[in-house]
Amino acid sequence: METRRVIDNTIKYLLLLTTLVSLLIVALIFIFTLREGLPAFQEIGLKTFLLGEVWRPGQEQYGILAMVAGSILVTIGAIILGVPLAVGGAIFLAEIAPDSMQTIVRPAIQLLAGIPSVVYGLFGMVIIVPLVRELKVPGNTGFGLLSASIVLAVMILPTIASIAEDAIRAVPRSYKEGSLALGATHWQTITGVILPAARSGIIAAIILGIGRALGETMAMIMVIGNSVVMPSPLNNNPLTLFMRQARTLTGNIAVEISYATGVHESALFATGVVLFILIMLVNSSARFLMRERANS
């Protein structure tokens, strides 16, 4: 009896230790990334680093604004292309699809979520980039923000669709039944009652999609062109901005880390810190929204 109790207590503290490992890892990541990135912040200066438009490590110039613009623009593009499709798909699955379609569409979304990012990148290189190149605008190589936005939209589609679908399904049936009883059509019920009720969950889904988009690395490198110049429109039409080649914050790190040394290497870690903080902010707001919904 006594041995059993001793074993029980020992195991309890062992398990507590394993729980603290996660905390330890987060702390280590924070500490080490910051430690490596600090020299860059000190030598280059926070303002020059964050707002500098020129990234030329060979000439000691480390401004990441072009990459920030790249990341933000490609995310905006992905959201514009992906959210209507994802939310529409979520509504379809939650409210409209018959069982036969559900057994096809839901595993399809699950599979889309599991496909490796490099496969999407490869598909982008081989199919999407040549397609975009068909747009006959001088300076359009096919590689660039548009191709990257298309690929990224497909990659974040499953994330947004599944969380949005959960949010729609979580709306109490009484809301729907009450609306239908009052004479509204199914579609009126969806737009007038169900979607507003699921609004914070859907917004949380979109925000999580944004977080995922900001974090994507390899697929982006493969289709975005990796130009470190601030993206600008190709001609008078501002939309041609998206045909410009660019580079994301994530791509910046991955492409140069293998040969960077000294301040250059530190600057890449500093880019990591900026990325980390950006995504933390995005994810926290999503989590805040989802908890709000759970409490209301």
Binding site: D8, L15, T18, L122, V126, H186, I190
Partner: protein, 309 residues
């Protein structure tokens, strides 16, 4: 109010619907049909995208896959000669290492959070909520940051170098939140009556967990592990900076190497061998499809098992 234009039988009372109200209903129905058509389009487009990506990669890739492709090592060079044998082996080794490191830690943490954390007093609950915050934060970290961390901590600081060990440790950090989350969910679905019955029979808490709760939660736990396997197979950024780029067969846990996903990346970026890249991609896609099938099968068994209670 006007009269309805619909003929009535002698058993119906006079309807008081106006023509205006009938027209309104018709237009609302029309709007609904149009909207539903759009939604159907959304669902179909999603399937079409999947079919396009998966279908194209499989079709192009299968042309390249044969026994020689799978059993020869890559030779390097601009035309990407050779096969993918070493990358398959490296991927399998890496999966094993990450799972072996992350699973005990993840399951242990989940057991503590679900079974023990509620009952502690004093400083422990504070530690636990910070730990939970740690798990949630970890889940949101982008994979390239795990790569950077792996590079500076495991590769450089701990001097493990570009190796399966560094990559395995970095990968374990990546999948740890997934295992913790899925194991927690699995443990939470085990009915309280299981635990209470076991305790009533005189078992200690740990005996209850070991012999009653864990076996009941096993399908869910295994689902989480297999999900993580899929994650490791698909991941690139983490291993890009911790494994090195060597395409040789790994000789020990300290050897570097290339996973299949990394090999695809190098093929696409450094060589003209898009056909071999498609082949590698096809193998990857087939692996993910198999993994998804297994997960779906296990999830169904999990819910069926609970229904049988």
């Amino acid at each position: 109010m006007g009269e309805s234009s619909v003929p009535m039988s002698k058993y119906e009372t006079k309807s008081t619907t106006t023509n205006k109200e009938i027209a309104n209903l018709k237009s609302r129905h029309l709007a609904e049909k149009a909207a539903f058509g759009l939604m159907w389009l959304g669902g179909i487009v999603t399937i079409a995208i999947l079919a396009a990506v998966v279908g194209y990669v499989l079709l192009q890739g299968v042309k390249v896959i044969d026994l020689e492709f799978l059993t020869t090592a890559p030779q390097g060079g601009l035309s990407g000669e050779g096969g993918i044998s070493t990358t398959i082996v490296t991927t399998i080794y890496l999966v094993l290492i990450t799972i072996v490191i992350a699973t005990p830690l993840g399951i242990g943490a989940a057991i503590y959070l679900v079974e023990y954390a509620g009952e502690e007093k004093g400083i422990v609950p504070k530690l636990v909520s910070i730990a939970r915050f740690g798990v949630e934060t970890l889940a949101g970290v982008p994979s390239i940051i795990f790569g950077l961390f792996g590079y500076t901590f495991f590769v450089t600081a701990l001097k493990f170098g570009f190796s399966l060990l560094s990559a395995g440790l970095a990968g374990a950090c990546l999948i740890l939140p997934v295992i913790i989350r899925t194991t927690e969910e699995a443990l939470q679905t085990v009915p309280r009556s299981y635990r209470e019955g076991s305790l009533a029979l005189g078992a200690t808490k740990w005996q209850t967990i070991k012999n009653v709760v864990l076996p009941a939660a096993l399908p869910g736990i295994i689902t989480g592990i297999i999900l993580s396997v899929g994650r490791v197979v698909s991941e690139t950024a983490v291993f890009y900076v911790t494994l090195g780029g060597s395409y040789r067969m790994p000789k020990s846990i300290m050897s570097g190497g290339r996973t299949m996903a990394l090999h695809l990346y190098y093929l696409a970026m450094d060589t003209m061998a898009f056909d071999k890249a498609m082949g590698t991609g096809a193998i990857l896609v087939i692996s993910i499809i198999l993994i998804n099938i297994v997960i779906n099968y296990l999830s169904r068994r999990l819910t069926a098992g609970l229904k049988g209670v």
